[in-house]
């Protein structure tokens, strides 16, 4: 050991997205030029090498890792993982599992990325299903919404885990020391709501998090809460609605989630989905954001907070 801090290593699916492999490889080159990062470009060697040869990568820390197969758009996600164990997505996920990479980035089909992540990395203990969220309001950059994904028919405990993920997100990515946690609801009083939110209120109240109570629809963007906790059904509707009426943030948040990208939270490892339509510049930016997420120790912090909150709930 020379005392040099080891670079963060990212397994990058070279074959995912509308402009792969060209824009993925170019994005990798742009990201590594900024230094402090090792990128493993995962994909069929012929196709990836042809793109790499367009650049002088001799001084860049980019390695090619051969993967035989490419997951096509539209395939059933479960099938893509079961039938294609040597796809670029599956291989990149296994590199994280085997500690050959610190995180995994793909612009491939979301379902296949999530399924491979579940298969090879698994969930963090205490989180049942993958969660997506982040800052989605243009006028409230310090307010994040969890879950914006597909966690529907939630149990109260799921909403508690969304709160914990949002709490760690705000601390690690937004630099908010004691994020205010709000429960999206239809009234301010603690006994308001549906069966889900009434029970979730009790859990959040005991969580030891900085729970500020119920937040109504008209308060979502006024900064009363840093974390808006909700079932993924309503999160999904709000997320898409905001996009359609120009209420989105101009710049994606640190972990980003604009137009379907973002870290897939709850997976036992940093897995970052990039929107399929991304060009090289966005791929590069995403790689650097993912590096930051790894550098902040997000996964370990989340595990610690889950453990702490679970203890408080049980006492």
């Amino acid at each position: 050991m020379t005392g040099k801090v080891q670079n963060i290593r990212i397994a990058l699916d070279a074959m995912g997205g509308d402009y792969a492999p060209a824009d993925i490889v170019q994005g990798a080159v742009m990201a590594t030029e900024k230094g402090d990062i090792d990128i493993y470009l995962v994909g069929p060697s012929d196709a990836v090498m042809a793109e790499m040869l367009k650049y002088d990568t001799s001084d860049l820390s980019i390695c090619l890792v051969h993967a035989e197969e490419v997951v096509p758009e539209g395939i059933n996600p479960a099938l893509s993982v079961r039938k294609m164990p040597n796809s670029s997505i599956a291989l990149a996920a296994r590199m994280v599992r085997d500690r050959e990479a610190d995180g995994f980035v793909s612009a491939g089909p979301t379902g296949s990325v999530v399924t491979a992540a579940l298969q090879y990395l698994g969930m963090i203990d205490g989180i049942d299903r993958p969660v997506i969220g982040g800052a989605i309001f243009d006028k409230a950059p310090d307010t994040v919404v969890f879950d914006c994904g597909v966690n529907i028919d939630c149990k109260p405990y799921h909403l508690l885990t969304f709160a914990i993920i949002g709490h760690v997100f705000c601390r690690k990515f937004l630099g908010i020391d004691r994020p205010k946690i709000g429960l999206l609801n239809i009234g301010a009083e603690k006994d308001k709501g549906n069966l889900l939110t009434k029970e979730a209120y009790q859990l959040l109240d005991k969580s030891g998090l900085n729970f500020v109570g119920n937040i109504e629809g008209n308060q979502m963007m006024d900064g009363v809460a840093n974390v808006l906790v909700c079932d993924g059904f309503i999160g999904n509707v709000i997320f898409k609605f905001c996009g359609s009426v120009g209420l989105f943030k101009d710049v994606a948040a640190t972990s980003g989630n604009k137009q379907g990208g973002g870290i897939i939270f709850g997976i036992n490892g940093i897995v970052r989905k990039v929107q399929g339509s991304s060009r090289a510049q966005h791929v590069a930016a995403t790689i650097l954001q993912t590096k930051e997420a790894i550098r902040t120790g997000f996964i370990d912090a989340l595990k610690t907070e889950l453990c702490n909150v679970t203890k408080r709930i049980k006492t």
Copy 2:
């Protein structure tokens, strides 16, 4: 009979709202000046008469109906009906029950208005709970949302009744002959959604209504559907959210529902809640809208459609 069409008769709670009885009485005068309407001003005779004396009502069809009590703000709704059977709200509701009035308008406490309506008029067969909705988007005047109220933890059948109410609303108030019914959901495909929407989809599909399928959050304002059907939890959040970000319609829809007013649908009679902060001009406009709702035969049309759809669902 002289062949003259009988005026529509409205029982108006003279004591509800922030500016009662002054602005309520003035609103009644303004509305009756436009003709074709009989108003029964319901409230303590001294207080109401003092206001009526400010106007020359000799040529106007306004009658005073004495009610001993006034329901105060903040009272428990159930208590207000049980303990105050002679309040202006209770009396106005009973006038509709007893066919002495065709509809009932109040700017009093919403809970007490709804509870009195339930107590004295009851629900229409096939509708379990009161429903609130209407056109809420500024850029989509021909799109109504049901339920925007407090129907939470809905069963699939409830969503079907919202669709039917929305269908009749569009036909009677917006002049849309064959309204497009959309189910607010998190994906376009028919098997997408939570337990509620998946089952509701099946019912809507068999309803014989002009069901256009699932509508995602980004499509709510683009006119794909005239009726957006959703659980009242999400309807409430969207309604309040739109209000907070300036997406509301400038002019309230025919039956209005801006800032908490609107017809309470599902009650077996036309019951119109007026926002508590309304001034005379808004009271007058609301009375005239209520007259139109009665004139269109909304309640009978709704009963007919409920009956038709129920038959189709069962076959």
